[in-house]
Symmetry: C2
Subunit: 428 residues, 2 copies
């Protein structure tokens, strides 16, 4: 047996006991009261605030390594924790405590002619595995959401943030303990051995029910390819705006600019603008010039190139690219049907928007575009659980099973059928 096999054998046994601990914690969490869970969330928040100095110290270790490795300024910014950021992490937990408890809620209720009473009642899923990269706040955000929804969780942070995440997780575990809930409810994988991720993707002998990757395209794509258990994720957010011939320029133009430019690095940022060829030239010209003037690079087809010298040539790759930057691709299309076809071919089924005053065209788009979120006359940047009124979210999913769109506490639940009778037997 060589070293790496020994290492991986050890990781396997560590991971299996983490799985077993989670299973036991999940059983207790499943019937924990709202009060118990909320008390724990508030304790966790308090302990985080009280431990600011320790967390910042731990964070310094991660920052030092990042500096030594010459990681980018934006990477280091995501990694960095200060008093203000720790306050915001703690207040995230308080917000989660204030959400309605999704567990035990009766979603449907009906009675049959034989007087059997049926209820569909929300239950936790069990154990959620979360694999993330450098942002230490995910430790607390994800841990809090899982706790609120009655699920145990197993967290696997990136090696770059391991000291910070450990410090945060210790606060969460302590908060759980003093509230009388199992401290194994929120576990952090202690090793940075990459084979631990593989173990999680195989589900730890059935201990993990669903995997949620939080990070870049490489991470999500690996998880989607290798996972043997369900995954809630989106690979990319190639979000489209279709500008219809009947768009109202006054209300539609701010939506385009906001969709692209409010924050360019989020998955709900628009990446491609499809302009109906029947849109008047003047109007098309205003759209392109306003985009460029707002600091956005425009990559267009021939028709768009003719509008302004500053437009760059879009090539085939542009239609399938998530820039996450101040760049937008612009294509001229022949009406709503060609827009729908373009989105079906190049989109990522995340969020797509139509701008039009024509009710019929809007309904056609909303019906035919098969994305998690379809919008009419509103910014794609609303693709966010908070903006949906669903409270905090753990991410956005583009799959079609169970969770689609923002994944908040409600989406972290399952259900069971409860049937109440008075001695009914089945006659035929």
């Amino acid at each position: 047996m060589n070293n790496s096999e020994q290492l991986s054998g050890k990781t396997k046994s560590v991971m299996n006991s983490i799985g077993e601990n989670a299973r036991i914690a999940a059983e207790i969490l499943a019937t924990a009261s709202s009060k118990q869970k909320n008390t724990a969330l508030l304790s966790m928040a308090e302990i985080l605030l009280d431990s600011s100095d320790t967390i910042i110290e731990a964070n310094k270790l991660d920052l030092d390594t990042a500096h030594k490795k010459g990681l980018s300024a934006s990477f280091i910014d995501r990694l960095k924790l200060d008093k203000k950021r720790i306050e915001s992490i703690a207040s995230g937990l308080v917000t989660i405590a204030k959400l309605d408890d999704p567990i035990g809620i009766t979603c449907d209720k009906w009675e049959r002619p034989n007087q059997l009473k049926f209820e569909r009642v929300r239950t936790p899923i069990g154990t959620i595995g979360i694999i993330y990269e450098s942002r230490p706040n995910v430790t607390s955000d994800a841990g809090g959401l899982c706790l609120k929804s009655g699920n145990a969780c197993i967290l696997r942070c990136g090696s770059a943030s391991v000291w910070s995440c450990r410090a945060i997780q210790r606060c969460l575990a302590l908060g759980l303990k003093i509230s009388g809930l199992p401290d194994h409810s929120i576990q952090l994988v202690p090793t940075t051995d990459r084979s631990a991720v593989g173990e999680m993707l195989r589900g730890l002998n059935g201990a993990i029910d669903v995997i949620i990757p939080r990070g870049g395209k490489n991470l999500v794509s690996r998880v989607q390819k290798e996972a043997r258990i369900p995954v809630f994720a989106h690979l990319q957010g190639i979000c489209h705006i279709y500008w219809d011939r009947e768009a109202d320029i006054e209300s539609a133009l701010p939506v385009v600019i906001n969709s692209k430019m409010r924050r360019t690095g989020i998955c709900g940022a628009a990446e491609t603008l499809l302009i109906d060829k029947e849109t008047p030239y003047n109007c098309r010209s205003v759209i392109i010039k306003t985009l460029i003037d707002s600091g956005c690079e425009v990559r267009g087809d021939e028709t768009v190139l003719a509008i302004d010298d500053r437009v760059k040539h879009a090539n085939l790759d542009d239609w399938g690219t998530e820039y996450l930057d101040k760049i937008i691709s612009v294509k001229t299309v022949n009406g709503v049907n060609e827009a729908i076809m373009h989105i079906a071919q190049y989109g990522s089924r995340h969020t797509d928007c139509i701008l039009t005053e024509c009710y019929k065209t809007a309904e056609l788009f909303l019906k035919k575009v098969d994305s998690a979120i379809v919008l009419h006359n509103a910014s794609t940047q609303f693709a966010d659980g908070g903006e949906f009124g669903m409270g905090a979210e753990i991410g956005i999913a583009t799959g079609k099973m169970h969770a689609r769109g923002p994944v908040g506490v409600e989406q972290l639940t399952s259900f069971k059928y409860v049937v109440r009778g008075s001695g009914q037997i089945r006659l035929e």
Copy 2:
């Protein structure tokens, strides 16, 4: 390249084109009207009836092979088609046509302070892969349910029923065609090459969204182990009845007998009876004697053995066995909590029942038993989509994602968020 590699290469290309055809059909089905889908279902039923002779002839080929192979009488009975069975297959499609169309239904609806209007609208999942064994009626039942829910389906029957299933599928495809829907909406894998199943379990390059296995434990267990895409299934139905100290013998005894004996071969049949040790001896004695007198073999622990000479000794394996036969294991437990623990250890999270007149004990059981269906004072044989009032079902699922319990047309759907605005942009 050897023969088997060539064969499997050919299968791969056949399967990929089936996947591609399904994808195209699914796109059209997704927005087909209820009228179109119902017309197709009724045409399919009519054509099935008109083709009875052809189907019976095809069925003879399968029966001949089955006889030659010396397959069991019960196997041959499941395989056999006659006029009456074909009528029942056709009337199954008529029943599905009468169900409400689940697609396009608004499940939730809300408005945000910024006047954005949110809807969660039901959409089809896409393409469903169904892998089944010898019952030819699954071809039509599954095909009809998928069509009603706007999904394409790819059917893979067992080799023993291939002629019968082909004959039925041809009727379905013709019904689709004359109703103006793609005949590829319901495809049957043309080859009996086993590698076709492997291809389906890998999802045909993303063409299949979910796999539903219909058959015995071996099939389901292979599918659950090898599938790289979501599976709706139950591996076993080890259903429990817990007889509490406060059960009312008059109403509870018929429930026990019905749960076990109405039909012993279905997944909702009770397999284990847990009797509270505080139940009076007389009462326990009546339960055991009534079971035995009704023709059921009882395998019990020491306490149960002492009740009647005809009781056999239960060993450890009995607690985890799905008999699907006139056999029941009976264990004496110390109250509801031990019953809940026994079910957590040996159950299959399918359907479990408590018999008691005590509200508090019942609620504890219903809350703590983590099964798809939990019943109070009613037969476990109600574990059936029809009895739930959900209409026809494609099976029962014990997973916790998306579909749990009976899988009917509603459970074969996904959803999307439709957001309607009037130029809202995101300010912060």
